[in-house]
Structures are given as C-alpha cells and as structure tokens.
Symmetry: C2
Subunit: 344 residues, 2 copies
C-alpha cells in the first residue's frame, strides 16, 4: 500500500474538490491509501456526502491553512500546525510516502524544505511543469513534455542545471514511462558554445554523463513543438516561458471564441468547431490536469494546481503514488552517481 | 532628402526583391533617396527590368557579399570591400543617413560596430524585434509591440537594461508614434523585488527616470497579450521568447492547416476559413514585415528579414527614413541625460 498525505485545505475551491478526488480514487483498484489533512469538520462533512472506500481513507486534524495570498515564511511561522506542514510531517515521520497539495506553491516548497532533506548531490530543488506540445512523447504518446525549473531559482550554476536534467529525466522515466527520455538545455542557439556560462558548462558536463540521454541545446522554437521530453532551464527563464505558454493559449482561445461567436455559430451549429474549441480550452487548462512535481527532496512532493477539480486531484494522487512505487528518489540517486556529487 | 544606404546583396532570394523594394519606394512620394550597394551588374540588371524614379536611386559597387551561413568576423575580415561594410562606410562618411540590410544579422551588427560609434552612455547595442500582440498599440492601433534585446547580449547589467529601455522607448515613439510608450522589464513576477539582481536594480533605476514611461515588471503572460509597448530583457531571454513565438505560430498554423485540409475544405469551400488561415499565415510571417532596428549606434541601422519580399524591403527603408527624420539618436541622447550616463 502506498500512502499519500493530502493537504485538504489549500485549493481555491476549498475542501470539496480535494475530498471528492480522494473519494473517487478510493473506489478504484490500485494500492493507494490517502490521509486527508486539515480541518476535520470540513473534511468529514465533505466525506459524509460522498461514496468512498473508507478503509483507504484517513483524516488527520490540522490547525490552520495557508491561503494563496499569504507570504509562505510568515504563514508557516504563524501556523506551525497548519495543514501543509502537518501533512509534510506525516511523510517525514514515515506515516506517509508522499505529499500532495493544491495550496500556495511557495508554502508547499517551504513546508517540504523544513521537513525533508535534499537528495545528496542536489543543491537546489526544482519545480517542474508538464506542458502541452505539438509532438507526442513516450509509449503512451503523451502530448506533453516536462520543463524544469519553473520555480524561483535565479542564476543557476552549471551543477544545478545538471541536477535539474538528472531529476527531470528520472521523473519522465518514472511517470511518463519513457525509457530514455530525451533531455535538452534551453539556450539561445543549438551549438554547445551558445548560452550563458552556466549553460555552456552544464552542456559540457551533461555530454559526459552516461546515465541520461542528453541531446544538446534546444531553442525557443522547440518548446511548443516538443522536440524533446525534458527541457532544462533556470527558474527565471522557465517562469517566463511557462507563463508565456499560458498567455498564448489564452489569446488563441479568445481569438477562436470571437471567430466562433461572430461568424460560425449560425453557419455551422454546434458541430466540429465547438469540438475544436473544447480542445483548445483543454489546452489552456492543462495545468489543472495532474500535478507539478517538486523534485530534489528525499520524499515525493506533488503540487496540484490551485484550480484543480476532483479529477485533477485524483490524477495528482496517482502520479505521487507512481513516483513512490517506481522509486523516483533512487533513480535520481543512481543517475547522480557517475558525477560523484553524492559524496559532497 | 533622407538618404538610405541599402545592402543589396544579403537577402535569401538575392538582389531581386531588394531592388524591387527600392524601385517601388522611388515611385512613391516622400523625400527618400536610396543607394543600392553591391554587385553593380546584378543590380543594374534588376533595375533595367523595372519601373523606377532613377533620380532617387543610386548604385555603389561593392566587392563580395556575406552569406547567411558565414561567420561574421571571418567574413568581414576576408571581404573588407563587401556590400554591408561598404554600405556602412557610406553612412559613416556622411554620404548616407541610415543603413538597411536583409543580410546575416551578426555581420550587420559587426559592420555597424566597425563603422559607427555607440551613443554616449550606451554600453551595448541591442537588436530589437517587432512582434504581434492581441492588444493594439498607439494612435495607429498597431497589433505589434517591441521587444529588446533579442540579440546576443548575455548576462546584461542593470545599466545595460536601462539603456535598452531608453532606446526602445525612443524607437517606439519615433516609429510607432506613441507619445509616451509604456515600457516594462520582463521578469518572473510583477513585484519590484522579483527577478535577477540586474532586473531588480534596473527596476529601481527606471522607476526614478522621468524621461520614459516605466510601468514596472511584466511576466511571460503579458508578451502575447501585449500589455505594454516595449518589453525589455537580456538577449538570452529575448532570443528564447522570440523563437518561442515563432514556434507557437508555426504550431498553430500547422494545426489550422490540418483541420482545414481534413475536414473543412469540402464542407465550406474556400470561404471565411481560408481567410482565417491567411491571417494566421501573416502572423507567422510577421518578421518579414518591416525591419528589426539595431539601436545604440550613432546612426540608424535597420535589419530586414532575410526572407523579405519587395514590400518588406520598402517598409524597412521607410522605417529607416522615419527614424532619421524624427531624430531617433537625439531622442535617445535626451532620454539618457537624467541618468548622467553620457558623461562616462
């Protein structure tokens, strides 16, 4: 049985979609047990209204919850018994194997940093994001690729970028089941000497690393295309790129809606173009589906989107269980060995 | 009369579209004289086949031309009499007021660097790009914004970013006729303390600079939306962002083409959707339209796209003339004055 500690309090829409996601998963086959952490009255009320296999669900009380607008350090200092810290402690103390939260991203990372250790050889943890691509990836033909870091690491060293590449490769192998994920550095040119000094040095180090399938540098044009399975960059660039994808999707959706409303509705009815519009909507909502891994800790941490619906929470729980079951941490440790970083 | 030196040799399709663009412009009203620089036989042959006002065209012979695949330093060293260097020298020596080239970007920048001085207070020149946005800008409601640097500046200092902001603002005012262009720094958050140390320091400096309308930081999502008129970033980020826009446009065009081919052609004929497709094509080809300014030199330099057609060359010539006529260089100098940078 894989046990996931689920912060029940952080999502934008409150406990309802979070509890509903856990209930759905409890009725499916698969060895996953979920501990819902938060206000027990709210959780029990939501549980009472739903079908669920209660033998695969538990509730642990927590005192307080971090809101999206809270400053992480201040909020965790003020509420040492809050849901995300309590859930992280369950994992630290061996009562659960992975942490899932749809709450404030900074608070999730900070709660993990205060509760877990980093994997030896990993200097900085990374927030990864799954994003939609034109090309498909892996045995399941997923129309998604992984990018990291999209968090807050500024001015990464070459060694940190190498760590991101190793962790992204391991995550892609474990969760997307791509045997040798194709990993690339994002740069301003494909040649090995293109990029910042850190990118150039990371390129040289990765080219000598047998444990991952490093294919060199990719450029901006390769991101929407999806040329590789894992795109590695520092958090400043990753944040800009990810938010730009959101902006492009929103603009495309808006244009399509206008075209649809103005001219097409009365000509074509609700036929194929409404299907196309729904596809586009899905694309713009991709962040809801599944979760964003926070990699580098000695425990699995999955950040679900704040706007997650029940299905997205269920998916995030399944992703967390899969990462535990297939040994994400050990895969990262093994891939780091040739670098001798673990000895530091 | 504003005199433009036009490198006739560098475009992907040879002298034909370049000469054609100059001929078209010569037949329009407006005080622009163009000197075509390159192989006189090729130029005269192309001129002979076309209608033009020869009183507003001249030809200056040059020996050799840089190709797109050439390495700029090596090519300019090997061919000191090549077309782009000869055209730049005409400007340096006062025989022309601006340089326009559709050739190898690196060679254009290098030829300018070898022939011109930088404006006092500008440490590094920048390659700017006009890109399509959802929102419209300025009195002409242009669906475009300006981004700089998209060239090769890595690891810019705060002072360099401030210089880009000043130059972008002046260019937008002069060419797009936006009286107080809204200028922003691209960062990983809108708060003043977000970003790399250089971005944070540039934010503080720009907030104190009265000569430009600095609105703070924008994020990736604001790029396709077009929240501001001028987006400032270092060349590494700018290159990735610009190429990503190309990639997104290519993917969107590909998706639209497939949808069109597969299902819509026989249902709708060549009606409104083919118009939509053409619009999208235009969007993906935006780089062809007009030119990318290289700002920071004491002379106007416009880089037209290598795939420019005659209309794009005509537009680049007009943009160059407008920048000269409205005193781009003096506008930059004036905006830099409050910083006291000109004294360095």
């Amino acid at each position: 049985m894989i046990r996931v500690a689920l912060d029940a309090m952080g999502a934008d829409a409150g406990v309802e979609p979070v509890v509903e996601g856990a209930c759905r998963l409890s009725l499916e086959s698969g060895p996953i047990h979920v501990t819902l952490v938060g206000d027990p009255r709210q959780i029990e009320r939501a549980l009472g209204a739903r079908r669920a296999d209660r033998s695969r669900l538990a509730v642990v009380a927590a005192d307080g919850a971090v809101r999206m607008t809270d400053k992480p350090v201040e909020a965790l200092d003020r509420m040492p018994g809050c849901s995300v810290l309590t859930a992280a402690r369950l994992v630290r103390d061996g009562q659960a194997d992975a942490l899932v939260s749809a709450g404030n991203t900074g608070a999730v990372i900070l709660a993990a940093a205060r509760s877990f250790a980093r994997i030896p050889g990993i200097r900085r943890v990374a927030l990864a994001a799954v994003y939609p691509t034109a090309l498909r990836h892996g045995p399941r033909r997923d129309p998604f690729a992984l990018m990291l870091d999209v968090g807050a690491t500024l001015g990464c060293t070459a060694e940190e970028l190498v760590g991101f590449a190793v962790m992204g490769s391991a995550y892609s192998r474990v969760v997307s089941q791509i045997e040798r994920p194709r990993v690339a550095l994002l740069s301003n040119g494909s040649e090995p000497q293109k990029g910042t000094p850190a990118v150039v040095a990371a390129h040289a180090a990765l080219a000598r690393l047998p444990s991952i399938e490093f294919v060199g540098n990719v450029e901006g044009v390769d991101i929407p295309r999806g040329t590789v399975d894992v795109v590695v960059c520092d958090g400043f660039v990753g944040n800009i790129v990810l938010k730009m994808l959101e902006g492009v999707a929103a603009v495309a959706l808006d244009l399509a809606r206008k075209a649809y409303e103005r001219r097409l509705l009365w000509r074509l009815g609700l036929g194929m173009l409404s299907r196309g519009l729904r596809q586009l909507q899905t694309l713009t909502d991709w962040k809801q589906y599944g979760g964003a891994p926070i990699v580098g800790f000695d425990h699995v941490v999955i950040k679900a989107h704040g706007r997650s619906n029940a299905q997205a929470i269920r998916n995030a729980l399944k992703v967390a269980a899969k990462a535990v079951e297939r040994g994400l941490e050990q895969q990262i440790r093994t891939a780091l060995e040739p670098l001798g970083l673990a000895e530091q």
